[in-house]
């Protein structure tokens, strides 16, 4: 008799039984979504380094956390809600409270909440990026600025759809096409939307080769697309070493809220360029980047708790994210067209779309579309200028939104 009681207790407490409890079906839907995301990451290779981790984090959370049954959970949304609740004096901004009640993924998430992972990812991006094309043609920065149009249009659209100011700012930054920046800003302004925003940002970055070419074709004509650009000037080693110091000093003084992102981006770049820190540069580009990616992806995936994710707001975010990407591409291309006209046809406007950041995917799209119309046209390195300018531009946009809504 006792054995039967134990078996009944085990059955009643199992996750399988919890699927039939109130709201348990939502976990089942999220588990299916996690499998779909794993399929997209592994088979379709959509940003696999991040999507596989995000999808598995989502799977782990929804296998272990059921509404009202969080005792064995790896991630606890309610303790993070308490952490942000000023009325809850014991938990408000208390990492001690988090440590006491955390599951494994809650511990991982501390790095996201504190803004550590996105900043370290930016350090890796800086160490992997050659700013030479931007230094050779500083006007590329204008394209990086123009391509932030989608950020602010999507922000406005999100307010129209009923999101709060901080939520709208987090949704808008998807248009910056920069995953770490989107995660950084969302964690600060609207952590409840982190899952859908991260998924939208990384999915659309993977879909850039499909999103951008039709817009590029619609906004430019054959004459513009075949423009062969002149070789950029030579960039000295000294310029490359001075560049990260100048940008860090200048941008952080202008917008102090950009300090974590721009500071780490430029520190990584200085490791790469200064010539005396090869070991550090190598570590930041490879080992550190890989370790942080694992923690970042799984903890972002963990925030995709069924109750938070399965909402109409998620669909709105996905649609607004697509609009943000498309409009940022339009902004960059319009900037490119203006430069084409003002330069007397020397600038190929196709490089403007690379201003949306998403390094180096967007630059490759400019190269591919350009070669389609002129087999002898090699736009890749010309497009890298606006591409890396977009990284700085999206960090400034995030800094502005954080200053206003933070």
């Amino acid at each position: 008799m006792q054995i039967m009681d134990v078996l009944a207790k085990l059955g009643g407490e199992s996750g399988f039984a919890l699927f039939f409890m109130q709201g348990g079906w939502k976990n089942l839907v999220m588990i299916i979504i996690a499998f779909v995301l794993l399929y997209l990451g592994i088979v379709k290779k959509f940003e696999p380094l991040l999507l596989v981790g995000i999808a598995f984090g989502c799977l782990l959370t929804n296998l272990s956390y059921f509404l009202g049954h969080g005792e064995n959970a790896l991630y606890h949304p309610e303790i993070w809600a308490n952490f942000l609740d000023p009325q809850n004096t014991a938990a408000y901004h208390s990492y001690g409270y988090i440590m006491k009640n955390a599951g494994l993924l809650d511990f991982f998430y501390i790095g996201v909440k504190a803004g550590i992972y996105p900043s370290l990812i930016f350090m890796g991006v800086g160490a992997m990026t050659d700013f030479g094309p931007l230094l050779a043609r500083p006007k590329s920065l204008l394209l990086g600025a123009a391509a932030q149009l989608g950020v602010f249009v999507a922000f406005f659209g999100a307010v129209l759809l009923g999101f709060t100011g901080p939520q709208a700012a987090s949704i808008g930054i998807i248009g910056g096409a920069d995953g770490p920046t989107a995660i950084f800003l969302t964690t600060k302004l609207a952590p409840e939307l982190l899952g859908p925003i991260a998924i939208a940002a990384y999915s659309y970055m993977a879909l850039i080769p499909m999103i951008q070419p039709p817009i590029m074709k619609a906004l430019t004509n054959d004459k513009m697309r075949v423009v062969k650009m002149e070789q950029a000037r030579e960039v000295s080693k000294t310029e490359k070493i001075v560049f990260p110091m100048v940008v860090a000093t200048f941008v952080i003084l202008l917008l102090p809220s950009t300090a974590p992102l721009i500071g780490c981006l430029m520190l990584g770049n200085l490791f790469k360029e200064c010539g005396v820190t090869e070991r550090l540069s190598d570590t930041v580009q490879n080992a550190l980047m890989n370790i942080v990616t694992i923690f970042l992806a799984t903890s972002v995936g963990a925030t995709m708790v069924a109750d938070n994710f399965l909402k109409l707001d998620t669909i709105k975010i996905v649609v607004l994210g697509l609009i943000a990407f498309a409009i940022s591409t339009v902004g960059g291309l319009l900037g490119g067209i203006v430069m084409y006209k003002t330069s007397g046809g020397e600038i190929n406007p196709l490089i403007g779309s690379a201003g949306v950041s998403a390094v180096p995917m967007a630059a490759r799209v400019s190269q591919d579309v350009g070669r389609k119309y002129n087999k002898n046209n090699y736009l890749l390195m010309h497009a890298m200028g606006p591409n890396v300018a977009g990284v700085i531009g999206s960090a400034i946009a995030a800094g502005f939104l954080l200053s206003v809504f933070g």
Partner: protein, 112 residues
């Protein structure tokens, strides 16, 4: 002003202001970079002029540079189109993005 429940006109205003701030920041940065480039390049010809006095090297034909390499890649008896193809093949073989590789020079090896 209530920025959480922000009104639509205020959101429009902040959107325009934000876009303007991004432009302002990057335009200023562009000016700084242009000035920096001018200063650095003013020194470069001086250094080049000083070199013959000390070393007086034999005249060397300046190799044409490949398009889109920010002037780093030197080509010797190699067509820019062939150079671009070689770089793409090397990147593909190494499974590395092209922007992570640095090509110093490409020289055609001729059979003797």
């Amino acid at each position: 002003m209530d920025l959480v429940n922000i009104s639509i006109p205020a959101a429009g205003l902040y959107a325009i202001l934000g876009y303007a701030v991004v432009f302002f920041g990057l335009v200023l940065l562009m000016i700084v970079m242009m000035v920096m480039g001018k200063i650095m390049h003013k020194d470069a010809p001086k250094a080049a002029a000083a070199a013959p006095v000390t070393a007086a090297p034999a005249p060397v034909r300046e190799a044409p540079k490949a398009p889109g390499t920010a002037g780093e890649l030197k080509l010797y008896d190699t067509d820019p189109r062939d150079a671009a193809m070689i770089m793409a093949i090397v990147a593909d073989t190494m499974k590395k993005p092209l922007n992570e590789l640095r090509f110093i020079s490409i020289r055609e090896v001729k059979e003797r």
